[in-house]
């Protein structure tokens, strides 16, 4: 069941990211729903789930982008793994803490990405930070916090947890 949900998330997120988000970008930048999903899967499902979903989602998304197939998979895999480790250490997690965490991790990943992708010389550090990294981190944090808050307030997470353990 969990595997099916993860497969649906991976197959469903790619069209949403490439078709729909192109129209609702802010400041010319769109949020990375894959990053948000991997963080939430890692936090809720643990490091193995986070790692595997991160690898698969990063790879699937890079199939529909100009970036190489490995960098995104590895970065998202690491994010999922770290989110799983973080989830193990935290007993209570408020949406506000999650928003701040997503903001920081998204910034870190955004700063590492240009080196992994070997971008053009025109896309220097300042351009990267001001045009892509900060706006994207803000969007990722807000959307991640919103999804987490909705999941928590609208769904019976305890029951879902119990079912997923069975």
């Amino acid at each position: 069941m969990k595997g099916l949900i993860y497969f649906a998330v991976i197959v469903g997120l790619v069209p949403v990211q490439s078709v729909l988000l192109a129209h609702i970008s802010l400041w010319g930048v769109k949020p990375d729903l894959g990053f948000v999903a991997v963080c939430l899967v890692g936090l809720l499902g643990g490091e193995l789930d986070g790692l595997l979903v991160g690898l698969a989602l990063g790879w699937a998304m890079s199939l529909f982008s100009a970036q190489d197939l490995i960098s995104s998979a590895v970065l998202k895999g690491i994010v999922g793994f770290v989110a799983g480790l973080a989830g193990r250490q935290v007993v209570y997690l408020s949406p506000l803490v999650l928003v701040i965490g997503l903001l920081v991790v998204s910034c870190l990943i955004g700063l590492v990405s240009p080196f992994a992708l070997k971008l053009s010389g025109q896309q220097d550090w300042w351009w990267t930070v001001s045009t892509v990294v900060l706006p994207q981190a803000c969007l990722d944090a807000v959307i991640g916090g919103l999804i987490y808050w909705l999941m928590w307030s609208r769904l019976n997470i305890e029951q879902l947890m119990a079912e997923s353990r069975m």
Partner: protein, 290 residues
Amino acid sequence: MRMVNLRAPYSARRVALILAVILVLGFLLLPGQLQTVFQQIGGPFGWIISWPLQTVAGIHDRIGDTWGRYVALQGVEDENQHLKRELDLLKEQNGQLREAAVATERLSALLEFRKQVLPTSVAAQVIGRDTGNWYKTIILNKGASDGLQSDQGVITPAGVVGRVVKTTASTAVVLLVTDPNNAIAGLIQRTRDEGIVEGTTQGQARLKYIPLLSSARPGDHVVTSGLVGGFPRGIPIGTIIRIDKEEEALFQSAELSPEVDPNRIEEVLVILSSSIPGEGERLGVPKPKP
């Protein structure tokens, strides 16, 4: 608020750790080989994802049409219900006919252009954009099964769009001419000076390595030179809007306004590599002297 706990047992953590280590080692030691393996596995997986992708693109187009019509009708005065209904019906029919006429005109022009210039090209529709923020790309609804490969040129009747950088069985990713990571061999039509056209971070393009003695000026048209890349000679790329000449520089450069607006592309032609005449074919094979 309590933290959700779907955590895996200790053994799963060890598996995750081992997997992570293997992957990072593989990434560091064999990047090229891993890339090839991932690309090969990506073919069928990309084909699976292309179905929901194309479905979402179709639904998105329909919703866009419906939404556009609804918003357009908001401002209509509602003085007479009967007349309004009739007017709405006629408007809708008129809009549909006009849209059909525009689409027919556009597709006819594309077909004519294809017949005249490029007998072996593939027409494709734009179904999406890059999944990330680092590159400016479009996704096409044709892929490797239609003969598309990396480095093939992509154009519209207006000019160069970009080049194919990645394919799955039924989709292709095109890096736009306005992306800073793209480079296309260009030629100033009036002066015949050659250079390299690169995208800029402002969404324009720049012709680099123009000789210092060139008399290029704003308004000159830049076309493909046909020397390298997947384009034949003479496809429009853009118009020079500014010349930049720096002190003690070996070359000058020019800022271009691209002929094609990347945000408004709906259909494109992909030039199949085999259809581009090589330098020898263009000039003719030298005949031995008697």
